[in-house]
Symmetry: C2
Subunit: 328 residues, 2 copies
């Protein structure tokens, strides 16, 4: 059944692909720090992707997809739909490679995000959230222009690119005298990062972490088939992780590795954000702190050397100040 899920993709993401992606990414993006903490005597390594140039791991997948386009595909350009970090990653990478990029964004997107995406050289195509479908707009653009759509996680190269974080972390762990991770805990929205880490960390037990109520991957892994979040999912602080369903590809990869999912509450996420502030001196956004939150809340069975992703750090200063103040 798993192999059937993979039928519609150009290729299956591979370990060697994540290694090649790591080499490609290292040439354009600074190495992100690997921080170490002790959790009840276990060594826990934290891969701080929040310190990436655009504040999240998304550059990795975007870059690896873009450099794998052939000359003809590059000439026809790319399309992405997302108002978040993925689109910025595509805009950034396309700008560096001289590829024309169109980003489909809602017309009410934050002005700062629009300006940032434009400053990176991308063209923005606005749509009305209420009346239009962004996927249809992107598909239409793709058909008219012959441009390649780059989805945020449902793509073998994007997944390999995200997985490069695991290759990089393994080398950093070795430099600190630790072997490969026997346990990986990854933040999960659509599953691009977690699936990539599952591939690049072949010896590890994989746990994915989602916000309470946004547990589509957790439930899918539990039942063995693709599930959606329930009707009327609750509010969550983790805006970056509000996906409603895994993609066939990310689900197949994680399911094939017997990954399991856990969920965390906003309070646990905010406690992890404060922990990161005080003990690691880094800024995490809620969605970037879920894996750490699960570890600190004792929800994950740790290995001898656990690798945890800190996936992003783009957070509103007023909200962050409020989170810090709640500590008192």
């Amino acid at each position: 059944m798993i192999s059937k899920l993979l039928e519609n993709y150009a290729k299956e993401p591979s370990y060697s692909g994540t290694c090649e992606a790591a080499n490609a990414v290292a040439r354009v993006v600074p190495v992100t720090p690997l921080l170490e903490i002790d959790v009840n005597g276990a060594r826990v390594f934290l891969k701080a992707e929040s310190v990436q140039p655009m504040g999240a791991f998304k550059l990795r997948g975007a870059w690896w997809r873009l450099v794998n386009l052939n000359a003809e595909e590059r000439a026809r350009g790319v399309v992405a739909f997302s108002s978040g970090n993925h689109a910025q990653g595509i805009a950034w990478g396309a700008g560096r490679l001289g590829i024309s990029a169109k980003i489909v964004m809602p017309s009410d997107a934050p002005k700062a995000k629009i300006a940032n995406t434009r400053a990176l050289g991308a063209e923005i195509i606005f749509y009305d959230r209420a009346t239009e479908d962004r996927a249809a707009i992107a598909a239409n653009l793709s058909e008219t222009l012959g441009a390649t759509i780059i989805p945020p996680f449902d793509d073998p190269w994007v997944i390999e690119g995200q997985g490069s974080a695991g290759i990089e972390a393994t080398a950093q762990m070795a430099a600190l005298g630790a072997g490969p991770a026997d346990c990986v805990v990854a933040c999960c929205g659509g599953g691009g990062l977690s699936a990539g880490m599952a591939i690049s960390c072949p010896e590890a037990a994989i746990t994915i972490v989602e916000p309470e109520g946004w547990d589509d991957m957790t439930r899918s892994l539990a039942t063995g088939m693709i599930e959606s979040v329930g009707a009327n999912p609750p509010k969550t602080a983790c805006d970056a992780l509000m996906t409603v369903q895994p993609s066939p590809l990310t689900f197949a990869i994680l399911s094939g590795r017997d990954a399991m999912g856990v969920t965390v509450l906003d309070e646990e996420v905010e406690a992890a954000m404060r922990f990161a502030f005080t003990n690691l001196r880094i800024v995490l956004e809620p969605g970037g702190a879920v894996a750490l939150a699960a570890v600190l809340a004792g929800k994950v069975r740790l290995g001898a050397q656990t690798l945890v992703t800190l996936s992003g750090g783009n957070v509103d200063p007023q909200y962050f100040a409020a989170v810090l103040s709640r500590a008192a």
Copy 2:
């Protein structure tokens, strides 16, 4: 005159010493990230020492001093006086090497700092700020026990150790296609980090940055002799940089390199902290943000590839929340 200042030291810090220190430090401490920003078209690289295990660069100098003690010195132990990051660095390093460490701290030091230092395995010797002199207590301990005093900056190995940050950064810059720094901007308290960077970045023009009113090194470099801060120096947010006078060694090194000093206002420092929060997603304490503040305020003439130290990130959450709120 410079060479006369160096007469009382066991050795003169050297470039090769900073290289050896970098190798020694890399074996025990994760590599800190090198972040890149564009400032008016110039490449500016930021060495984020705030992400060090104890939140500051001080581990580097502490470790390099400790591993250079001979067997007899190690057996007799070490003494440090400081309630800050240097003492924690000594406690951390001594604990790892099995060296007995005594830290002289004021009896009214923050409980968290006392607990942290103890947890690292050091013994704390309390003194009364009002009636006792910590240097005299340390000297007395040193004489009685034969223990080695490790000063926070007035020591050739400590300076070489701090300079290892420059060696590490140069390698990271090379990986990103940049040559050695032609301009270094360093946070300056007693001058240990800036003197170390001056040695490990031999091709760079050196600028040190101090808080307004705490400009002892700036004035010393301007007049060519060791100056103290004025009587009744103003309040500053930069508690880590409130030194009243350079040491002969740090002054001699910086003066020998024709370094110049600039000062920054608290408002400029807080703007830099907000910049780091939003654009770098890292937490800086005021003293750790002065060099970045000077660059962002346009107070430093930048090179083609400027290297800036972000020296520490230990900051009270309520104060940090207030700094973020002032942005609105």
